[in-house]
């Protein structure tokens, strides 16, 4: 599969000064007492503006939980996390909702309402910026509908605008989901295994699209993946998780495939950092 390579240069300018994401000892436990399970264990790293990061790790290593934390869908149990200047632990529900409006999220299972038109599904991405509930395409302002059409054209699906979403293929549905997240004009884009349920051709299209969106909008992107080759050719940086801990954090230029594959081959190994795979300063270059 072909995906655009990492950027030759990392973004420069004021946006580099303040990290978009800063996590320090972030921990998330589910349950309590003897049944408690630690999903994220002392996660620390920074992500600066414009970086395209791939999260790798086995199923259950904490990738999805981490993305949900970053989006404010779940709160950390301990540690601190700041995303787009918002403190994840201390901000109230309204503040977290405000944060979510600035973060696009692409899911593995697309999460479209099958019986609604493609255009209406895309319009729902703008709900956070609108007041009050909306029921039916005509309840969205024309400006939003036009922006949604722009978004659909951007993902190559403008001709399907008035088709029911469940009549599209998996790859097309994922492109609709990307268009929906673009309606937020996000400053940060999170993607949770966006190509896990797609065929190689559709996967290539989606990854190319995400990269293009990131490059053109100078977007910061965090994307969990299972495909090592895709991650190496697509991302600027790879963060590897094992049993809820960061065990690898390097730029794609500084790492080779064999090293990354150790995340998957050394199953059951101690979740200590893999030798020579974590950059000295919390992973930033």
């Amino acid at each position: 599969m072909t995906a655009p390579g990492p950027r030759a240069e990392t973004p420069a300018g004021p946006e580099r000064a303040q990290p978009v994401i800063r996590l320090t000892g972030l921990t998330k436990r589910f349950g309590s007492g003897p049944d408690a399970r630690t999903a994220l264990d002392q996660i620390s790293f920074d992500v600066t503006g414009g970086e395209v990061v791939a999260l790798l790790g086995l199923s259950g290593s904490g990738k999805s939980t981490l993305l949900a934390q970053l989006n404010g869908l779940r709160r950390p149990t301990s540690g601190t996390g700041t995303v787009l200047g918002t403190d994840l632990a201390r901000t109230g529900d309204a503040g977290l909702r405000e944060l979510r409006r600035r973060i696009g999220f692409v899911f593995q299972q697309f999460h479209l309402v099958g019986r609604l038109t493609v255009l209406e599904n895309v319009c729902t991405g703008a709900l956070g910026s609108l007041r009050g509930p909306r029921l039916g395409l005509f309840t969205y302002p024309r400006s939003i509908r036009e922006r949604a059409l722009d978004g659909l054209e951007r993902v190559g699906l403008a001709g399907h605008a008035f088709q029911r979403a469940d009549t599209l293929s998996g790859g097309q549905q994922q492109r609709v989901a990307v268009a929906r997240s673009l309606m937020q004009r996000p400053e940060l884009l999170l993607a949770d295994e966006p190509v896990a349920s797609l065929d190689p051709e559709s996967s290539a299209q989606i990854m190319r699209l995400l990269r293009d969106v990131a490059d053109q909008g100078r977007l910061t992107v965090l994307c969990s993946l299972h495909q090592v080759d895709v991650a190496l050719s697509w991302a600027d940086r790879i963060i590897g998780l094992r049993q809820g801990r960061v065990v690898m954090d390097l730029t794609t230029r500084d790492i080779d495939r064999a090293e990354v594959m150790r995340l998957y081959t050394e199953v059951g190994a101690d979740p200590a950092p893999l030798p020579a795979t974590v950059a000295p300063s919390t992973g930033t270059r």
Partner: protein
């Protein structure tokens, strides 16, 4: 010695010690035996009820003479003049339509509060569920009696009675549908910062809409059937004229009106099917894909990009020429769906439906003043019904509750045999011939089309006032609903085991008993108990038209303004219904 030689002998030998009898049947569990006993008690109750009511061939033969006599008294049918008939019909339809619309309006918030995934908190959920159970268990006639105190004669009484009672069914089915939605779209909207209400309108309601429309249309159908009984407590329309004709013993007019109701029910059934198909098109196959795409490409004003490669942000989409500079007229992209045949049809139906609801509400006298009056009178009216009392008729009420139970048990058992038979024949996977199955489905549909109340009125005249008429009416009514539920349960059985048995050369009846019935019978049992539950509630209503039981006491108490007695009757029926519902849930759980 080889490994094979070391295996224990398959049959006990003389050397293997005393012969032990191996179990070839599973040891019955305590819950299984208890549930079996409970069902046997219900069955015995049914047999006892049929014997006690003297529901036998002799009674039916005795009634044959009455039937002949009745035929001569009802013929020729005496239809009211066309304008009067149309007026009555419109009056009834208006109450039914406005009542059902009210139930939908009330049910949506109740259902959202009752569903686990959309409720605010547990107390809210419990309260919403309690409202649903109460609305379902209290007969619409009781709501009509209460509403009559507020609104008096007129459509509003019927609208409120049907609307509130229907929340029991519409609310429950909608809450169930809300709980079964795909949570994914809602999570996506939540992740995008949408508020709770925005999530509900953007991701929950669109998924629930098909179920809501189907439920509303089904309820409309049911409300049309039961609206007749409201005439007996003073709600205007065909039911009222029918009740008056029956009280005058004017059977020529009564049966003419009954025939009109029957034909309206049949007409309704086909219209509601067409409405459902038009409002809820199932365009889920890829077959229409290209046709839609063609339409969209022609009508959106934007062309599909050849690939998913993104363009630079801010670039205007194809077909969008910005007015100004070069003086070209602005070509704005289409942001609404194209006006194709399907959309025109859908819009026409939707507009007609809305116009019909508004017209029905106006015809039924729904107004702000009426609603304001309802708000003012709610507590005083509720006070009339509390506390529950017996007015010295406690013994009679208990006896009549017993009779109602007898009628429902007998009715269920009478309907059970033909219902199961028809249900089996209507199940495509059992009979193996789609044509035969379709034929029997149609038979079931025809039986379902006949309102039980019309049946009860006819049977009251034929067999005389009393429980036999009620039991027979319920029996015939049960064939329609139970037959359909049995056929559905049989057809829902997964096809794998059926194919496996067919592959072994088993005959069709062996497949039925070996692969279909063992999987379907817990559901069938549940449906039978559900039918009993429905019949207990219907038996209460049938009492109002003279078919015996506690419904008669209900009507009398309302007539003499003993509303405490009405409450007692409701509570008694509620207790029995909840008992049967609990039994149904338990039996299904045990045999699941």
């Amino acid at each position: 010695m080889s490994a094979i030689d070391q295996r224990p002998p398959l049959t006990p030998t003389a050397e293997s010690g005393p012969t032990t009898v191996r179990r070839t049947l599973a040891r019955p569990g305590v819950p299984g035996v208890a549930a079996g006993l409970a069902l046997l008690i219900c069955l015995a109750g049914g047999v006892w009820a049929i014997t006690g009511l003297r529901l036998n061939i002799a009674t039916l033969i005795d009634s044959a003479g009455n039937a002949v006599d009745f035929s001569s008294r009802m013929l020729p049918l005496d239809f009211p003049p066309a304008p009067e008939l149309l007026g009555l019909l419109w009056q009834t339809l208006a109450v039914v339509i406005a009542g059902t619309a009210l139930s939908v309006v009330l049910s949506v918030p109740v259902a959202l509060l009752a569903a686990r995934n959309t409720t605010l908190n547990t107390p809210c959920r419990v309260m919403a569920r309690a409202v649903i159970v109460l609305c379902r268990a209290v007969p619409d006639v009781v709501f009509a009696i209460a509403a009559f105190r507020v609104f008096g004669l007129g459509g509003m009484t019927g609208v409120v009675a049907l609307g509130v009672h229907s929340v029991g069914m519409v609310g429950k089915l909608t809450a169930d549908a809300v709980e079964q939605i795909d949570e994914g779209p809602r999570t996506a909207l939540r992740a995008a910062g949408a508020g709770r209400l925005q999530q509900i309108t953007g991701a929950v309601l669109p998924q629930v809409l098909p179920s809501l429309v189907a439920t509303a249309l089904h309820r409309l159908d049911i409300n049309l059937r039961v609206s007749v009984v409201l005439g007996f407590v003073g709600v205007g329309g065909i039911g009222y004229s029918l009740a008056t004709a029956v009280n005058r013993l004017d059977y020529q007019r009564a049966m003419a009106l009954a025939l009109v109701v029957l034909l309206t029910c049949f007409a309704f059934e086909s219209v509601s099917g067409a409405v459902r198909r038009t409002l809820l098109p199932e365009v889920t196959t890829r077959s229409r894909h290209s046709r839609w795409r063609g339409w969209a490409a022609r009508n959106t004003g934007v062309k599909a990009a050849p690939s998913a490669v993104a363009r630079a942000p801010g670039h205007a989409p194809a077909g969008t020429a910005v007015a100004g500079g070069d003086g070209t007229a602005a070509v704005r992209p289409r942001t609404g769906p194209p006006w194709n045949g399907a959309r025109v049809r859908r819009t026409v139906w939707l507009t007609l439906a809305l116009a019909l609801v508004v017209a029905s509400a106006v015809r039924s006298g729904v107004s702000w003043q009426a609603l304001a009056r309802a708000t003012d009178s709610f507590l005083p009216t509720l006070g009339d019904f509390l506390p529950p009392g017996t007015a010295g008729t406690g013994g009679t009420l208990l006896d009549d509750l017993w009779v109602t139970l007898q009628i429902s048990l007998a009715g269920t058992l009478v309907g059970l045999v033909p219902a199961v038979l028809l249900g089996v024949l209507a199940a495509g996977n059992v009979v193996g011939s789609p044509r035969v199955a379709r034929f029997f489905r149609t038979v079931i549909l025809c039986v379902r089309g006949v309102p039980e109340l019309i049946l009860a009125i006819v049977l009251v005249v034929v067999t005389g006032l009393g429980p036999v008429a009620g039991a027979l009416a319920l029996g015939i009514g049960s064939i329609g609903l139970l037959g359909k539920l049995v056929a559905d349960s049989l057809e829902e059985v997964e096809p794998g085991p059926v194919r496996a048995l067919l592959a072994t050369g088993a005959r069709r009846h062996q497949v039925f008993f070996g692969a279909i019935l063992p999987r379907a019978w817990p559901a069938v049992l549940g449906h039978v108990l559900y039918q009993l539950d429905v019949n207990i509630r219907s038996a209460t209503l049938l009492g109002i038209v003279g078919a015996g039981g506690i419904g008669y006491d209900l009507l009398n108490a309302a007539r003499v303004l003993e509303f405490g007695v009405v409450t007692t009757v409701v509570l008694m029926v509620l207790a029995v219904v909840l008992l049967v519902e609990g039994l149904a849930v338990w039996v299904r759980k045990v045999y699941a």
